[in-house]
């Protein structure tokens, strides 16, 4: 299998966090902590503004991960692909009003037990340069 895309970095993607998108996401995943919906409660809890639930990382990272997955040099076969594993390491909280910039890199491409593993890393930082999330996305392609 072709692993030449290993080490390739993709263009940064910037996403501006908004409180209504946080509300929509929190409802979809069943988060009911009042801080996700009420600015006064969020500030009372010591947050700068309404925070994003941890898994909101999926939303602001998508624009960086998508182009990496679809890159022809990476050559992922979507028909045979499954999302095998995922890791997030959270840093500075993400709040409404932040601009989060995410950069994706193809960390590894390898074969194991007849399956192809495609591992991507994304690093997301806020407008102050603080790291908010570091994520590892592992996709597995059957029948390499």
């Amino acid at each position: 299998m072709d692993a030449s895309a290993k080490g390739k970095r993709f263009p940064p993607f910037a996403y501006e966090i908004g409180k209504e998108k946080i509300r929509e996401f929190a409802h979809a995943v069943g988060e009911d902590n009042v801080v996700y919906f009420d600015r006064t409660a969020a500030k009372a809890a010591g947050l700068r503004d309404i925070p994003a639930p941890p898994m909101f990382a999926v939303v602001y990272s998508a624009g960086a991960v998508g182009p990496a997955l679809f890159d022809p040099e990476v050559g992922l076969d979507f028909a045979l692909m499954v999302h095998g594993g995922q890791e997030f390491v959270w840093g500075e909280p993400v709040c409404s009003g932040d601009t989060i910039t995410t950069v994706a890199e193809c960390k590894d491409i390898f074969e194991k037990d007849g399956k192809g593993f495609y591992v991507f890393e994304t690093v997301s930082t806020n407008q102050d340069g603080d790291e908010v999330v570091r994520a590892t996305w592992t996709n597995i392609v059957r029948g390499i």
Binding site: F25, A28, V29, M55, V58, V82, H83, Q86, W90
Partner: protein, 128 residues
């Protein structure tokens, strides 16, 4: 939290249209999640839940165990196995495997109809 403690179980039955709402919220409109006919044609039992939705339930259960603050979840890694379906109960359970100062590590699993849909989930929590 002490080593060996169980975290409170989270039980959720996603309704029929949950995958559509999660698709809109996350931006992942892969038809295997929202188009039952297409999903069936490619050999799936029906339109399946997004793996990352299941991971969000695991994240919720762990953050709730540490008091529910969004800052309590420091790290979460999971493996997706099998597939989740709407309209069937998901049970998230976990056990504390390590405690170090204000930090706890929890091994978590999400099951549906007795089958694991997320396994080897490991969460690192801030407990103060």
């Amino acid at each position: 939290m002490d080593v060996g403690d169980s975290i409170p179980e989270l039980r959720v039955t996603p309704d029929r249209f949950l995958p559509h709402r999660y698709a809109g919220a996350s931006g992942d409109f892969n038809p295997i999640h929202i188009d039952k006919e297409l999903a069936t044609q490619v050999g799936l039992p029906g339109n399946i839940l997004h793996g990352l939705y299941g991971m969000a339930l695991v994240a919720r259960a762990n953050a709730a165990a540490a008091g529910g603050d969004p800052r309590s979840l420091k790290r979460l890694s999971v493996q997706f196995r099998g597939m989740g379906l709407p309209e069937q109960e998901i049970v998230v359970s976990g056990t504390v495997i390590a405690v170090d100062g204000d930090s706890a590590t929890v091994d978590t699993v999400a099951e549906q109809s007795g089958k694991q849909i997320i396994k080897n989930a490991r969460a690192e929590l801030r407990t103060t």
